[in-house]
């Protein structure tokens, strides 16, 4: 779920990129020789990049009368910086997707549990346009080294579900840019964005784990080295202390011993700090993706109150989507309703271990209202 595009990075790809940037900026790029481009740029762009409007760039080394551009070269960095102000937001719709699923009721029966509520009626299935927000984050993982990558998070804006299913199919689907459909129900952008942040952190899982393992290994190695060093120092001191010394001398050595121990602790904390991970996520750009789905409305009853739930059939996965717990925002197929009709998952609707009271984590996020026990 990390990269939106799977480009083969070789000189051709680099050349195409430069050509596109130049054209977007109003210039002309021509390939008169293999692996080289002749550029004619608007004045301001030319001045910024090369100090002049005409330039010849090559993407293969050793071409005469050209400037060589490759990964990591300062010239390429300048060209890339031109792209940084472009394409902050975009929208696309999946073309040729016409969901035709009927009778979601059976699917709902098969897939969902309602342990503490009663199902009432359901509405007729309708086609509805839903939107996903795809946000790309530039991630820097810093410990004693720095690692950078791009992470993509996708959130269903109507339900706040993390929509992993959209990424791979969307590469294969035909997409068109179009006006936003008129009625698209969605959560406020701030909430969707908060959810996207959580999704991004989750996506980092594997690469973060690798960095964590490497850092832990180095931390253990350095801690061992430190421990051995201070152990040797203490042993030397102990030997001196075991000699028949005056009380004052013994006290002096004893306080030296304490000082060594304190120093060891301090250095150990420094090491822990050195290898701790600082993860910085910076949003780069975002894209809204519209996808038609089939929705069925279902009424459920808890005690005397009723609540309407929406169930979606997703044409990309060919399955009915789980619902989203209002407390932890995780997917769930087991639906619990509290007395205030919050929809929760089994982990967020439970009995307090101390007093046995039924707790809804949406209502009481931190501690039991009866006995105050934290969870």
């Amino acid at each position: 779920m990390r990269r939106y595009f799977n480009t083969t990075m070789n000189y051709e790809s680099l050349k195409d990129f430069v050509r596109e940037i130049v054209e977007i900026k109003g210039g002309i790029a021509e390939e008169k020789e293999k692996g080289a481009l002749e550029l004619l740029l608007p004045e301001n762009v030319g001045k910024e990049l090369f100090g002049k409007e005409y330039e010849r760039l090559s993407f293969l080394p050793d071409q005469r009368q050209t400037k060589f551009v490759t990964y990591g070269s300062p010239l390429l960095d300048k060209i890339i910086s031109l792209s940084e102000s472009l394409g902050k937001t975009a929208r696309i719709a999946a073309e040729d997707i016409h969901p035709r699923k009927k009778n979601l009721a059976h699917l709902i029966e098969d897939n969902f549990d309602f342990p503490n509520s009663r199902k009432l009626g359901s509405s007729i299935d309708n086609e509805v346009i839903c939107s996903y927000l795809l946000v790309n984050f530039k991630v820097s993982i810093i410990s004693d080294e720095r690692k950078e990558e791009i992470v993509t998070a996708t959130v269903d804006e109507r339900t706040l579900r993390i929509g992993r299913e959209i990424i791979n199919p969307i590469r294969k689907l035909r997409c068109k840019e179009e006006e936003s459909p008129e009625i698209v129900k969605r959560y406020p952008i701030e909430r969707v964005y908060e959810r996207a942040k959580k999704a991004a952190v989750r996506s980092l899982g594997r690469s973060l784990k690798e960095v964590e393992e490497t850092s832990l290994r180095r931390l253990q190695r350095d801690t061992t080295r430190l421990w051995n060093y201070y152990k040797d120092l203490k042993e030397e001191l102990k030997k001196r202390m075991m000699k028949d010394l005056s009380g004052e001398k013994k006290e002096e050595l004893s306080s030296k011993m304490k000082a060594i121990e304190m120093e060891f602790e301090r250095k150990r904390e420094d090491l822990i700090d050195k290898y701790s991970l600082k993860v910085i996520l910076e949003p780069m750009n975002a894209c809204r993706i519209y996808l038609p789905k089939i929705v069925a409305h279902y009424e459920v009853q808890r005690k005397t109150s009723k609540k309407e739930l929406e169930f979606f059939w997703n044409p990309l996965t060919g399955e009915i989507e789980p619902l989203v717990c209002e407390a932890c925002l995780e997917d769930t197929y087991a639906i619990y309703l509290c007395d205030k009709l919050h929809l929760t998952c089994p982990s967020c609707y439970f009995r307090c271990q101390s007093c046995g009271k039924k707790i809804c984590k949406k209502c009481f996020p931190e501690k039991c209202p009866t006995c105050g026990r934290r969870y």
Binding site: L14, T70, G87, I150, S180, T224, G372
Partner: protein
């Protein structure tokens, strides 16, 4: 009345509820105080909480941990013992009890607690943390059992041992505080297990982005795509992603190799001393670094300097794995038009000896190289040698030095290598000696921390333990076969022919060596070479007559070696790979297996890629035996087989190792069994005696044989040495003596290697791992 009773009850309930709430507030207070390192305040809050609710388990556990941190174990014990009465099944409780008892040297009680904890950690529903805890507890138990054993032996009196009739193990209180009996140290192991990496996430704000989304202010999708591509390209700048990985074929890429490459490119900027332990793939790492630079267009002109015996090996590996086509100094053109050769060719592999020679030195040192790679770089350890001066004189942007043993005799060798990479990194020789070498013993370092800091800027040394390479064992059996009369006559006749031909120069060295090797394989392998020699125009009449005589004597009905092979195959049903060097022998063995009704598959260099794959597939699914002549193509997975037979033996021990390496490698889960077949009195008999009995080659780690051969005081290659002994010795006794000397030489070389290895491990330890 009733109402007031109800009211009273309700009030009591409310009060109780309030008190319970209060205890948790005190708990929060204690946590907060503890975070600010105000332990006494935290203890105070917890004591108040316990006073309100004596059954408050969490408070007791927290209190005990605070006392443990203060090393007041007796206090901690008090609260833990009471907590045990509240909840006898609390795991945390037993863990802390064990800890406290241990530090009070009450080993028996500690053991009891840990056993109780272990009994709570039973069942299948354990998660990873529980399993880790279980392992830790088991280790603690074995440590305690050890201590108790020791105490019994030394008859030491355990502190606080309960006197008969008095159950309490705790000493008397003195002035409200317990007497401290010194500060027991936290073990390294427990320190390491407690280590965790903390993570902090920071999100940078971009209100403009959110605003644009809110207002549905969009740009064309094309611009979005361009932005993404630009970001991806900029990531590549930092070498976080390697371009070469997709282009490397038929090679497994290990995580530590990829990380080494990234670190070299990112941190060391292409100048590094790669000294991974043997067998970890330094060549692959160097190849990946080179490939990455080539793809990025940062390198064009490359010089690889290797020992003479490795020139062809390097060329083959670079071609087959990395698709990088090098020329070598074996090229005739190199001899004829030197200057043109060196200047025109961008990718050259040369032996260091050849490159530094008079005719080439001046030419090469005038050329601007982008990259220089030196394999077995320990040959540059002495700055006064021509080797060192030559490499130092080369003009280069990037340089990779590869060696598993960077230090042999003293630390100045390391200094000399590092100075080639980064002159001035270790300052001047005298400054280095003063700062980092013990006076009077140039092998011992001082100021290790500082030295380590400086070396870690230019050096990577991955170890087998880091790479987590745990291979199963390998067992080798040499089976000596007594030749029957016909076979013996044939072998002796041929050997005499070869000997006389070689010494009289009627036979060139290559043909003579080939014939002798083939004779060790089978008479069928010899025949085709003899035919070719007979057909050659320059063969003398005498030679032709001799050849005719040998061919006429070629009427061997039985082949004892083949019979032995059939005997091995009859004892079991395991899949077996039979290695032989020669196609004719392969054909012969195939016929033999056919006659015996044993299903087999053939693998040799003449098969196309598809046919090779089909052959391996057939071996895996149907055939019991694979008869193979081809040893290349590491990508072929043969892990499902763990038994091999060397039907004949290459004279180069590294080729034997390569054969074994097809089975005994990462991914193999079973012990590997190797059967070496050799006929008595043949060259192979002597070779196996040396390699197996003298230096235990089959028990060495992959790559060590090469190191040992590198230490041999003989510049000829091994097969050349063997051929010389075989042909020049006057008689059997003479041959035996010469082979004995060779064996001794190898043994000394092995000892030298092991000494160097041990010294390197002591100096470098794990300090330069990733």
């Amino acid at each position: 009345m009733k109402k007031s009773k109800k009211r009273k009850e309700r009030r009591k309930k409310e009060e109780l509820s309030y008190l319970r709430f209060k205890t948790w507030e005190l708990m929060d207070e204690a946590r907060y105080a503890s975070m600010r390192r105000k332990t006494d305040l935290a203890i105070d809050s917890l004591l108040r909480a316990i006073k309100i609710n004596p059954e408050f388990l969490e408070a007791r556990l927290f209190l005990s941990s605070l006392y443990i941190n203060k090393q007041e174990y007796n206090e901690a014990l008090k609260f833990l013992l009471r907590a045990k009465q509240i909840d006898p099944e609390c795991r945390e409780l037993y863990y802390r009890l064990g800890f406290a008892y241990t530090h009070l040297k009450m080993f028996k009680e500690a053991l009891g607690s840990y056993h109780s904890l272990l009994s709570l950690l039973k069942g299948r529903g354990l998660n990873k943390d529980d399993r880790d805890l279980k392992e830790e507890v088991k280790e603690e138990i074995s440590t305690l059992e050890f201590f108790l054993e020791q105490e019994k032996k030394e008859k030491k009196v355990v502190m606080f041992q309960p006197i008969q009739g008095k159950p309490s193990p705790l000493p008397e209180k003195k002035e409200g505080k317990l007497e401290k009996k010194g500060k027991p140290e936290i073990s390294l192991k427990s320190l390491l297990t407690q280590l965790k990496i903390s993570k902090r996430f920071t999100f940078k704000k971009d209100s403009a982005l959110l605003e644009k989304l809110e207002q549905e202010d969009y740009e064309p999708f094309r611009l979005y795509q361009i932005r993404m591509r630009g970001s991806e390209i900029s990531l590549l700048k930092g070498f976080d992603r390697l371009l070469c990985l997709d282009q490397i074929k038929e090679t497994r890429k290990f995580w530590y190799q990829i990380e080494t490459v990234k670190k070299t490119l990112r941190n060391f900027r292409g100048r590094v001393l790669l000294c991974d332990e043997v067998g970890l793939g330094k060549t692959i790492e160097a190849g990946m670094i080179l490939k990455e630079y080539l793809i990025r267009g940062l390198v064009k002109k490359v010089l690889v300097l290797v020992p003479p015996s490795l020139v062809i090996q390097w060329k083959d590996e670079m071609t087959s794995k990395f698709n990088i086509k090098f020329v070598t100094t074996d090229d005739k053109y190199c001899q004829e038009e030197k200057e043109k050769f060196w200047k025109k060719n961008d990718l050259v592999i040369a032996s260091l000896n050849m490159a530094k020679s008079r005719g080439n030195f001046q030419i090469i040192t005038r050329i601007d190289y982008d990259m220089v790679i030196v394999d077995e770089a320990h040959h540059l350890k002495n700055r006064n040698t021509l080797n060192w001066k030559f490499v130092n004189s080369l003009k280069k942007k990037f340089i990779l030095l590869l060696t598993a043993t960077p230090v042999h005799n003293n630390l100045m060798e390391l200094y000399n290598l590092i100075t080639l990479l980064k002159p001035g990194q270790l300052k001047t020789p005298s400054s280095f000696r003063r700062s980092f070498v013990l006076r009077g013993d140039s092998r011992i370092p001082i100021n290790r921390e500082k030295l380590r800091e400086l070396l870690s800027e230019v050096m990577i040394r991955n170890t087998r333990s880091l790479a987590n390479i745990n291979l199963p064992k390998r067992y080798a059996t040499t089976m000596k076969i007594r030749l029957d009369e016909d076979e013996r006559i044939f072998y002796e006749t041929l050997s005499n022919f070869v000997r006389e031909g070689y010494l009289s120069h009627r036979l060139d060295k290559f043909s003579a060596t080939l014939l002798q090797m083939e004779a060790g394989s089978s008479p069928f392998a010899v025949r085709s070479t003899l035919f070719k020699i007979r057909e050659r125009k320059e063969s003398s009449f005498q030679a032709i007559d001799e050849i005719e005589e040998i061919l006429h004597s070629f009427e061997i009905q039985n082949c004892q070696k083949a019979e032995k092979l059939m005997e091995i195959l009859s004892k079991g049903s395991e899949k077996i790979i039979v290695f032989t060097n020669y196609l004719e022998t392969q054909k012969f063995l195939a016929d033999k297996l056919n006659q015996a009704g044993i299903e087999y598959s053939l693998f040799n260099g003449r098969l196309s890629i598809r046919e090779k794959e089909a052959s391996i597939d057939s071996f895996q699914k149907k055939a019991r035996v694979l008869i193979s002549t081809e040893i290349g193509g590491e990508g072929k997975n043969l892990h499902f087989c763990n038994t091999m037979v060397n039907y004949d033996l290459p004279w180069n021990p590294m080729r034997i190792e390569q054969r074994i390496g097809r089975l005994h490698r990462i991914g193999q889960t079973r012990d590997v069994f190797i059967f070496n077949l050799c006929s008595e009195g043949t060259v192979e008999d002597y070779i196996l005696d040396i390699l197996d009995k003298k230096i235990n080659m089959f028990e060495l780690v992959l790559g060590e044989m090469e190191m040992i051969l590198g230490n041999l005081d003989d510049s000829r290659d091994f097969s050349g040495i063997v051929m010389d002994i075989w042909t020049k010795a006057q008689d059997r006794e003479g041959r035996r003596e010469e082979f004995e000397k060779l064996g001794e030489g190898l043994l000394q070389a092995k000892k030298r290697y092991l000494q160097i290895k041990s010294y390197d491990e002591e100096i470098l330890q794990h300090d330069y791992e990733l």
